[in-house]
Each structure stands twice: as structure tokens, then as C-alpha cells.
Amino acid sequence: MKNKSMKKFSAALCAAATLMLAPASHAQEVVKFGLFHDFTKVYTFVADEFSQGQRDYLALLNEEGGIKGHRFEAIVRDHGNEPQRGIELYNRGREEGAIYFDFLSTPVANAIAPRALQDKVVLGTPLHGRGDAMVGEAFPYVFPMMASYWSQAARLLKYVEDTQGGLKGKKIAHVHIDTPFGREPLPILQKLAEQKSFELRTFAYPSPGNEQSAVWSDVRRYRPDFVLIWGAGNSQTVSVREAVRNGIDPAKILSVVWLTETDMKNVGESTAIGIKRVEVVQPGRDHPIIQRILDKVYKTGKGAGPEARVGNTYYNYGVADMVIATEGAKLALEKLGPPLTAEKLKAGLEMVNNLDTKGFMPPVTITPQDHQGGGQARVSQWDGKAWVPVSDWAAAYQDVVWEEARASAAKFSQGK
């Protein structure tokens, strides 16, 4: 205890000394990000790792001197997937001066979106929230930034088309959790089924998806060529287990972005070798950004969580989210100058052009029209130990995706 307080005291002394020695230009501005997640109810499967990745990347930037004399501060709280608590945190965060918000919960983000548009603060909705928020004209302050569920479904079908020599006549089963999230890709799948003349059948299992045996015996009888599994958290492991039990070849199973190393360990590492998923960020530690985090954040004991999690899929998603957001901040500071406001951050994000992360994620280009960042993703395959990419980064059937998104966004704009 004493030792700790001594450490704190000496750290404070050092900080004070550096503050005094530092020239005035280094006086650091603080940029606040409100990273409010659901740590306790529904999104627990992703929130811990995602949040750790976000905080570690911000810590890394601060360690490296921030961006143009600006330090980043993450305000992290739990909203328990309840919209009213999310709204309270949002209002509180705004009072504390946060200019970027990320709620990592679709119901909460959807409740916040109209407010963020009205108050003109940036709402990041990577991998959650409304899919049609990619239409920048209708949602000027909402940034999905990564491939939406629609683009992910399209990417998986494109993979089938590329590897099977076409989709014509194929039987595709969409096995999904019976929630808005599970049903979300349906319009895209139906449109593509019509265009590419393949057969689509949907199978819904009730939420939360701990019991799916009835559905999977139906799927087996249908004898699909490929199966899309669309769930999250535990329902995904149940889906994989049931599929294998029903004799479906894992290589024919294609998963939404929510399937990780941990899920595969829960299923049994060698149970479903060959299963594929769509991914929007490279997992693992084999990348300069992750190495920098390990070097500068974890070696100095400033990590936001257990070091073992670094490099997990969701951890890297959290890092990627902050890579894009802070790139927007950097561009805003370079082109528009301090002080950094939410309006400038929005403009900065829309200037992100071909963001090169050396393969950490696909090149991201955000424009005032396209807030999805290009919608690129790739397919990777479980080899029993890790996820190995089996395709390149690419965007798929964006014409269909955008048509649907524009129609939906137009409805939103009229609704106002």
C-alpha cells in the first residue's frame, strides 16, 4: 500500500517536472471519447475485449505523444443494453465534453442516432446500429466505418460465387436468431437470390438461442449447399455444435462476423475445422500496431486488461475502431486546426481516404456520402488453431447493398 502510494507520488512528481520543463506548445489538449458498452447483459461476449482494444490503442497514442499535442481520454461506463441508461450516459458524456460516442449495442445506438444527428456529435456504430447509417447524406453524424451486416452477407455470397463458379441453382440456408439482428440480412439475401437465381430458405431459432436442435434437423433435411449462421455470443457456438451433430460439413458453414477463437474453443478446437467466417479486421498479434501496443502499453503495465486477450478477434476490432476514429481526429487537426470539435471530427472522418494499415484492415475510404468506409471484408477459415484468410479484402454486390440502404435511409429522412 505504502509502496503504491510512493509510486503514485513519484509519478506525480515526474509528471509535474515534465509539465514544467515542457515548452508551452506541448500543453496537451484532451479529446474525450465516450465509449459506453454493455458489460453486463447481452453484449458481454464482445464488450470486454472490444473495450480493452479501444482503450489500449488510445493509451498507445498517448504514450507516443498524442496527435498534434492532443491526448485522448476514454470515458468507459456500462449501459446494460438499456436505452434509457444509454441516453443518460450520452447526455452526461456530452456535458463532460465527449465528441465521439460508441455504444456497441444496436438498441442503444438506434435510440441515440436521432439525438446525435440533432446535437451534431459523432456516433461511431461499427458492427452495430442501423445498417442504413452508411448513407452519409441521411445520417451525417453516424459512422458505421466497417462493413455492415448487409455487406458481410454479400461478401459471404460473393465468396461462394467465386469459389463455386457461380451461385446459380445453389441451395443456401440462412439460419438466424429470431431478432431484428438475425433478420437484418434478409432483404439483401432475397434480392441476391432473385438476381443470381439461387434458392434461399431461412430458418429462425428463438432468442437467446441456447436450444436449436429442432431447427437444425430441418436444415439437415433441406440439404443445403451452404449454410449462413447469423447469431452472436453463445448462440453461435450452439449453432456450430448442432450443425456438426447433424452431419453438415463445417466447410459449408459461413458465419457472420461474430465467431471467434473463444467460440471455437468452446465448441472444441477440432470439432469444426474448416468453418468459415467473414472478418473485417485481421486477428492475431502478428501486426505492427498490435506489437506497438504490446511494447509500449503492456511492457509499462498500462494495459487496460489481461495481456492474454491482446490479439483476439474482438480486441483487434476495438483497436481498428479507434484507428479509424483517431485518423479522423488527426486529419481534422491537420486540415482544420484546433480546437477539435465534433463538427471538425465529422469532417475529418469524411476525409479518411484509403487509410493504409498494412493489412490490419481493408483500406478505408469514408466520404460524405459513404460512411461505411467502402464495405470491404474477407473470408477466413478455422484451421483448428487460428483463423486463416482464404480470400482477399473486397467489397461485394455494393450496388444491391446501397440500393437497399438508400431506400431505408430515405424512409428514415421522411420519418423525421
Partner: protein
Amino acid sequence: MFYRQSGIYHTRYEATRRLWPIPFERWQVGVILLLVLAAPFYLSALYLQSYLLPWLIWSAATLSLTLLMGVAGQLHFGYAAVMAIGAYSAIHLVRFGLPFEFAFLGAGLIAALIGCLFGAAALRVKGLYLVMATLAMQYLVDWLIINVPAISGGAHATLQAPSARILFFSLENDLVRYYFALAWAVLLTVFLLNVKRTSFGRALVAIRDKDYAASVIGVNPFRYKLLAFFTSSFLGGMSGAVLAFCFYRAVTPEQFSFNVSTQLVAMVLVGGLGSVIGAFLGAGFVLLAPMILTNIVAMLSDFGWLNVSVNLLSHLPLMIYGALILGFLLAEPLGLAKIYDNIRNYFLVWPFKHSRR
């Protein structure tokens, strides 16, 4: 002390029938009313929009449920579904072109009709079995909303509340929304305070206490049970519409899930069955305690007094919250309203120790 009764002589029947015969309580009610009326002028947007406003709306919803659970004694575990019907009906009716005032009434009517349909189960079953019937309503309504895109609002299942006017005031305005919600809560409070003094309310109470006995003394259980479900669902549906238009402004099925139903039941129970002030206290406790606890715990952590992982930090408020509910219910099984009543009784006879009830 405070609640002085000396000098109060009931010389007319009207005087004995007043809601608050003790002058201090009239003052109390007046001051509270003034405080909430003036709230937008002294509360910051944060506290007005994310504490007081939802508290008022949830209190209104709790009051509607109190009529059914507390006064008429019919358990309802699918009340969020009733509110969902109201919220979705109101939005669709406004989109259809109806003026908000009519859509608001229509939302209540539709919720009341569907609520009655499931309430009809109450004519045959009681207690836990009625809970099952109302649970079925919750899941059916949930399923219907999610699976019919025309209701839920398309692939994202999010429906924006359209811009609407209430008596010439646009609901786009924060102040209008606050005062509308306040007016609705006050209206419901006045209704519930008085309903127990009407023949309707007394019939409901008779049915709650024993429906056979009630029918023996000439209260038709069939009629009054249905009426209880009708009235409560009517008010609940309208509260749902207020919630959608004044607070959420975009409705999703998750906002009216089973969790919300249990929260509403908790609000009624923690507050105190059948009590009006209990509805306010219960709604305030269940709704605001998690937020306030989260902020207190986060503040302690920011000061460096609580050095734990973010995960534990987010679960701590839940643990404290659970302990608080247990503590309150152990201390006073009749809910927060009874705790208030005990305090009031203490002061009523102070400096003596025993009150005559």
C-alpha cells in the same frame, strides 16, 4: 410535528372526503408540483432529459399497472407489450395522417382491446396461471413486432416517431415534451388517487380481496375484471405512446422486451402494491438507482479509491442495486410507500410513540 391535525374539524362531508385533509400535506403536494413545473428552469438538460423526464413517464406507466395489480389484484407480466402496442399504434396512426391527439387516444384504445383479449384469461385463471397467460401476451407481441416488418419499420426494426403537434405545440421541442409527459403523469396521479373512491374502484378492490365474496355482494367479476384490464391497458398504451414520442423518439422491439415487463412489475412491488406515491418511488428506484449507482462507482474509481477492472466496475452497481432491493424489502415488505408511511405516522403523533390507525 409537521403533520399537525389540531384545529382540523370536519363540519361538512366534503371536508372529510378531501384527498389531503392535513394542511401540511396540501403544502407538500403544492411545493412538489411547483418544483416539477419549474424544473426546466433550474435543472440542467442532463438531469431534466435523462432523469426527471423518464421518471415521470415510467411513473405514469407504473400507475397504470398499479391500477391492475395493486387495486384490482390481477397480475400482469406482459405490461411492456401493452405499452409496445400503444407506442407502435400511436406512431403508425400519426404516420397514417391522424392528428396526434386522436392517435394518442387510438393508441390507448387499440392497446385496451388487445389487452382485454389476453385479460379475458383472467376470467378463468388466477394467480400464477394468469401470469403465464400475460407472459404469452408478451412473447406473442414481441414475435409479431419482430416478424412483421410493416409494424417494426423494416430491416432495422427501428421506427422513428414522426414529428407531431399536441394542441398547437410541436413535440420536437424539449420543453413541450417535458410538460406533456408531466401533464400525463399528473392526470394519471389524480385519476388513481380518486379511482379508489368511486364505485368502480371499490368494486375492483372487492374483487382483489376475494372475487367470490365480491360476486355475492353483487359485483359482477366478469364485468369488472375485464374493465380493469381495459382501463389499465388503455392507460398503459397511452403511457407507451408518451414514452415513444416524448422520450425514445425511435422505437425498437428491445425497448419493450420481457425485461421491461419485469422492471415494471418490480416498480409496482418495490414501490408498494396499490399505492400512488409508491408508484413514483418504485419507478424512481428501479429506473434511476442503476444510473446513479453507476455514476457513484465510476466517480469513486476516478478518484482512485476503487481500483478494480472495468468489468467488475460495471457489475458493482448491479450488486449494490440487488442488495438495496433485498434490504428495502426485508426492512419493509410492503415497499417504499410503506416506509414513507411509517415516517409520516411517526411525525403524525410525535412526540408520542404510537399512532392510532
